[in-house]
């Protein structure tokens, strides 16, 4: 019956796939394949990993974690991590925050929502930060703010360029106003780095929203984005609820934000290393 399914919550494609394909594909272990949420193609995970986690059929960019990202962008084992042990605590005693942090650490195998350090990209030394979607959706609390600020301060002291990959749901409300203060703090560090004549390139990945968009994501000299990444300040659902308007097609997708003039270029994952190497090279100090 049509009416029966009318108000059903949409199925999460991946979950749906996992649940419903076991009967038809009994010999293949669950974790060997995934289905593309865009074109529904069934892909072997091994193949996907070799292709930067981009769907070979339609180009959909799967979300990847910070370590995979570093593996793609940095030369060999050039990455040296800073402040790896820095952990958040429940400063304002927000209900259930301790438990959330514990889960996030377990789920992501990271101590916090951003990984920072130095690396070389195409032979060019730089400071690198990569946010992690699987740690409380890359939300910015005091540790994320502090790590990013320290990285920019280090880069300023050592006259190094910064390359950063953003993914974030925004400021972390469990740390209250102190999260909001991180927006000003990181912005100050970016400004000092910029005023000293250093280059900062940001790559906005899906999704980059809220307090991160309204601070260091939008403050780079060169702003790139991954295809189809959601880039915005307020979330689409909140806007729909507030304005009671239907959002236009492609709203807040990187391609439209690019059309509006807020992004320099959309660069697919397989081209990013080459692209950033070229940018770093164009800004490298002449001997």
């Amino acid at each position: 019956m049509l009416t029966k399914n009318l108000f059903k919550k949409p199925n999460n494609t991946l979950e749906w796939y996992d649940k419903h394909t076991q009967a038809t594909l009994p010999d293949i272990p669950d974790d060997m394949c995934v289905s593309c949420p865009d074109c529904k193609a069934i892909l072997l995970k091994g193949d996907l990993n070799e292709r930067y986690s981009v769907c070979p059929k339609c180009g959909h960019h799967f979300r990847i974690n910070a370590r995979q990202r570093i593996g793609i962008i940095a030369d060999g084992d050039s990455f040296t991590e800073f402040d790896a042990d820095m952990r958040s605590s429940n400063i304002i005693k927000f209900p259930n925050y301790d438990k959330k942090l514990w889960h996030a650490r377990l789920e992501s195998s990271e101590n916090e929502g951003v990984v920072c350090g130095t690396a070389s990209i195409g032979g060019f030394k730089c400071c690198l930060f990569v946010m992690s979607a699987n740690f409380m959706m890359g939300s910015m609390g005091t540790v994320v703010g502090e790590k990013i600020t320290r990285l920019f301060e280090y880069a300023t002291e050592n006259s190094m360029p910064v390359v950063g990959f953003t993914v974030s749901g925004g400021a972390r409300m469990q740390e209250g106003i102190l999260s909001l203060m991180q927006m000003a703090k990181t912005s100050g560090a970016v400004k000092r780095h910029s005023d000293a004549g250093n280059l900062y390139t940001a790559v906005l990945t899906d999704p980059t929203t809220g307090g991160v968009t309204a601070s260091f994501a939008m403050e780079a000299d060169i702003i790139l984005a991954e295809p189809n990444a959601l880039v915005g300040f307020a979330g689409p659902r909140v806007i729909e609820q507030t304005t009671h308007q239907k959002l236009p097609a492609g709203f807040q997708h990187a391609e439209l934000v690019f059309e509006k003039g807020f992004i320099d270029d959309i660069v697919s994952r397989d081209k990013q290393k080459e692209y950033i190497t070229n940018i770093l090279s164009l800004h490298a100090a002449e001997d």
Partner: protein, 258 residues
């Protein structure tokens, strides 16, 4: 009063809005309009006036008092052009060596299609970055609601003061409740958890001063006028490098214990 009661007071009908402060504290106020990019946002009032004779730049959120005015002012929720207008006036203040006074009263930056398309996030980000190194003293006073990035974009200041019933938070308690508990009626609990009152923020070092609210707001203005004048005068006498170093340090300290 608990956090929720203060929140209600901050939003109460009849509470003085930005323009009351401007009209009662400054003389010769002349409003300046437009961001020179797109338009003039009525949710933010900006201009030049005198504070006890000293020329200053004044920027304020204005929510509006009557219903008609509220709609015209978009309830104090600014679009990107509002923040760009504010920044333009701050840059002029820097050029002409005038201090800046901001009055913050907003539920947040407007979330709508046009605001997003014209770069709400980028506009706020630019203000945060530029205000951090603005070579003139800045004092921000929270007079009602201080909603997230939309409030912070006028509050990267040398000192931040708050009226005792003003609030300042990373997210509205309604938003917090609906995300955390999927229940927007738990506003009271959320307001408590977020530590959004002036007293909480003073304790955390987010604001320097909490201003007592008299029964009759009319008696508040002369004292605030004098306090602002004294503060700006002493900030003006500081060496600019020292001023900016302190401003950076003011925000740098949040979370540096890790």
């Amino acid at each position: 009063m608990d956090a929720y009661e203060r929140l209600k007071a901050a939003r109460a009908k009849g509470r003085p809005t930005g323009l009351s402060y401007i009209n009662n504290i400054f003389t010769d106020f002349t409003e300046m309009h437009g961001d020179r990019r797109y338009g003039d946002d009525k949710a933010i009032v900006a201009g030049i006036g005198r504070l006890c004779g000293m020329p200053v730049t004044v920027i304020a959120h204005e929510k509006g008092v009557t219903t008609k005015e509220k709609v015209r002012r978009n309830f104090g929720a600014a679009h990107p052009e509002g923040y760009r207008k504010a920044l333009r006036q701050m840059k002029l203040a820097e050029k002409f060596k005038r201090p800046v006074v901001c009055f913050v009263d907003t539920a947040g930056a407007y979330c709508g299609i046009g605001a997003e398309e014209r770069g709400e996030g980028q506009a706020i980000a630019e203000n945060l970055m530029e205000m951090m190194t603005l070579k003139t003293p800045v004092v921000s006073v929270f007079i009602g609601e201080g909603g997230s990035g939309g409030a912070l974009a006028l509050a990267v200041a040398d000192e931040v003061w708050m009226l005792e019933n003003a609030v300042y938070s990373v997210i509205s308690p309604e938003g917090c409740a609906s995300i955390l508990w999927k229940d927007s009626s738990k506003v009271k609990e959320a307001a408590q958890c977020l530590k959004m009152t002036a007293q909480d923020l003073l304790y955390m070092g987010v604001v320097e001063r909490v201003i007592k609210e008299p029964e009759d707001f009319g008696t508040l203005y002369p004292q605030l006028q004098k306090d602002l004048f004294d503060k700006l005068l002493s900030l003006k006498q500081k060496d600019v490098r020292c001023l900016l170093e302190n401003r950076y340090g003011r925000f740098r300290k949040f979370g540096d214990e890790h």
